[in-house]
């Protein structure tokens, strides 16, 4: 009997990217679809390589590094700065001497950043589901968080507050009280977000059961951050590699077991509550007026790593100190890098109109990935 070979090229090819409305950043995904059901996926991320790793080993000395790596990502800037700084401090050998106040300020920065990032991505997710009103509401709430950050650090997103050996501005008493008032309002808006993602029927209908990642798959593909926690993997770099005081404050790791797009959203929402609690604890733990910057005399001389929990997941920095001002090698492994390999597997069999929400629920940040 003669076998009939089905021509694979019959599929409709829908390219998504490198520029697309649903994508905040350039990545190219090509879907082969049949009746809008995705059969095959291929992807390309070669659009935004900026050579920051190279420039850190040739152009900038280590004191400028936190400012440079802050420019890798527009949303999780301070996560990069902190990871780089902590790795540099470990390389120099002064990480034990960093005062508590510095740790507290860094924690406040990172958690504020996490809040605004989670609001951003959940709002964007609602937007790609075609729910513009939620998008506007969530981004308005985010605007308030940005204002809070502006009040604290003088910038809305690029805080530029971390430097090697400390932080470069302190939070005074008056701002501290204003922040604690602002936190209550932020908590209210998180409550709104929670209500939206649990109660709103059309949104839940779109997201529920979309792109389920089982716990085994999550382990197998090494997922990180909220995407992993939504599948029930109990991992959080803030606990595992604690540069701040997260273990002292008893940070709770939020996990869910469903592993679908809705669970990934809800993990982010619940993490926001936890972030607000961390900011409160950090504000109360120390008082302003302590020394906020150590004098750095040495150059980085050891090999050091830092794993920091960016809003998107584990951020890994490796610095090879050579005893010179400029480190020998800086390796940056960004969270999205770990979350991309699973995407083609999750997307197969999904209807094309569910692809943008599915992609967004993993919270990709391609500029980070390109570096």
């Amino acid at each position: 009997m003669k076998k009939i070979k089905v021509n694979q090229e019959i599929c409709t090819t829908i390219p998504m990217g490198s520029q697309h409305v649903a994508l905040p950043e350039p990545v190219k995904l090509v879907f082969d679809t049949e009746n809008e059901v995705v059969k095959r996926v291929s992807f390309d991320v070669s659009y935004v390589h900026r050579g920051i790793e190279k420039s850190l080993t040739t152009m900038y000395d280590f004191k400028k590094a936190p400012y440079v790596v802050g420019r890798i990502c527009g949303i999780c800037a301070i996560a990069h700065s902190i990871a780089c700084t902590v790795a540099l401090e470990r390389s120099i050998g002064i990480d034990g001497e960093v005062p508590d106040r510095v740790r507290a300020v860094r924690m406040i920065g990172l958690e504020l950043d996490r809040l605004q990032s989670h609001f951003l991505i959940n709002g964007h997710l609602a937007e790609v589901c075609g729910y513009e009103n939620i998008f506007m509401h969530l981004w308005r709430c985010r605007e308030f968080i940005l204002d809070t950050a502006d009040m604290l650090f003088g910038n809305r997103v690029q805080y530029d507050v971390v430097c090697v050996g400390g932080v470069n501005r302190d939070i005074d008493e008056k701002t501290g009280t204003r922040i604690s008032e602002a936190l209550e309002e932020i908590e209210e808006s998180i409550g709104f977000m929670e209500e939206v993602f649990t109660r709103d029927k059309t949104l839940v209908k779109r997201l529920e059961g979309l792109g389920v990642v089982s716990k085994d798959k999550a382990f197998e593909y090494g997922l990180v951050g909220p995407s992993a926690r939504a599948s029930g993997v109990k991992t959080d770099c803030r606990i595992e590699d604690d540069w701040g005081m997260y273990r002292d404050f008893g940070l709770e790791i939020i996990t869910m077991t469903e592993g679908d797009a809705l669970a990934r959203c809800l993990v982010r929402v619940l993490e926001c509550f936890e972030s607000v609690r961390m900011i409160r604890e950090a504000l109360d733990s120390t008082s302003p007026g302590e020394e906020i910057q150590l004098r750095v005399r040495d150059n980085p001389k050891k090999d050091a790593v830092c794993r920091n929990e960016a809003p998107r997941g584990e951020l890994f920095y490796y610095i090879r100190g050579t005893g010179k001002k400029i480190p020998g090698r800086v390796k940056i492994r960004t969270p999205t890098f770990a979350n991309i390999p699973i995407l083609p597997h999750v997307m197969i069999g999904v209807r094309y109109n569910d692809v943008p929400p599915l992609l967004m629920s993993f919270d990709p940040c391609l500029s980070c990935t390109g570096r």
Binding site: T12, I14, V128, N353
Partner: protein
């Protein structure tokens, strides 16, 4: 004379409706929103842009879309046949889909398919409503229908069915699948640009006037006619702002499940002489 007036004024009114849509939509999202004459600025800007021609057929279909939409509206306002209006409207959308099929763009193709589903979802309820109007007035000719006062009293369920198919007709969430800009970036309209997009943009205004006129039939002779039209548009916008986009099979399913039984019930009640 009347014809001329209608031809001149309906795009202006359509533009204002479009502007009001944007303004109200913005206010529902607590934004300030653009000025109400923004659509006219947009149109002027579109006409000034450099024309980029992909193929002649594609552009021809854009004009066909516009001309048929205008014909549908003119037929309506001049008191022509109601069935003709609905067929012209459906054909106009079909031309848009055909134009979109003439390209190689994947988004355009997907959008065209979805546009056809739009026709599939929206036209049957409209036709049934027309049938219902015929039952009550004995004619499809609109000039005779116009003399009937307050149709809404005898066909309330048909009116509700019209409201239910409005999001589909106006391409508003939850049924904005054909232009779904986060998925297929405008669908059938994606490859039009500059002056070639202008007829499509104008046709959108005219479609809004057509929809408004359709709602108006039910309230003829009542002082509430403008209020009724405005309220139903605001309802559609509020629904737009409180739902996520559903898929096209959901659109067909929901529109049919909601609208068709409503009209059916009205036809049944009219036949029984209850209403």
């Amino acid at each position: 004379m009347k014809t001329l007036l209608i031809l001149v004024f309906s795009p202006v009114i359509g533009g204002l409706i479009e502007g009001a849509f944007r303004k109200v939509n913005a206010r529902m999202q607590t934004r300030v929103g653009p000025p109400i004459v923004q659509p006219f600025y947009d149109l002027l800007k579109l006409l000034q842009k450099r024309p980029i021609l992909i193929n002649n057929y594609h552009v021809l279909m854009a004009y066909a879309h516009f001309v048929l939409m205008a014909t549908a509206l003119a037929t309506f306002l001049l008191g022509g046949d109601l069935l003709l209006v609905i067929f012209f409207h459906g054909m106009s959308l079909a031309f848009l889909a055909m134009g979109a099929y003439s390209l190689r763009s994947a988004y355009s193709h997907v959008g065209a398919t979805r546009e056809l589903f739009h026709i599939l979802a929206v036209e049957p309820p409209l036709l049934l409503i027309a049938v219902n109007i015929y039952m009550n007035t004995g004619t499809f000719l609109l000039s005779d229908v116009f003399e009937t006062q307050r149709l809404v009293k005898i066909m309330p369920f048909s009116f509700l069915a019209l409201i239910a198919s409005l999001p589909g007709m106006l391409r508003r969430s939850p049924f904005d699948v054909s232009e779904a800009h986060q998925e297929i970036i405008g669908g059938p309209e994606i490859e039009y640009s500059g002056p070639f997009y202008a007829p499509i943009y104008l046709a959108k205004w005219l479609e809004k006037v057509l929809v408004a006129a359709f709602i108006g039939i039910f309230f003829l002779g009542s002082p509430l006619i403008v209020v009724a039209i405005a309220t139903s548009f605001i309802l559609v916008l509020a629904l737009d702002n409180s739902t996520a986009r559903l898929s096209y099979w959901d659109m067909v399913k929901i529109t049919w499940v909601v609208a068709l039984p409503l009209v059916g019930a009205n036809i049944f009640l009219n036949a029984q002489g209850v209403l």
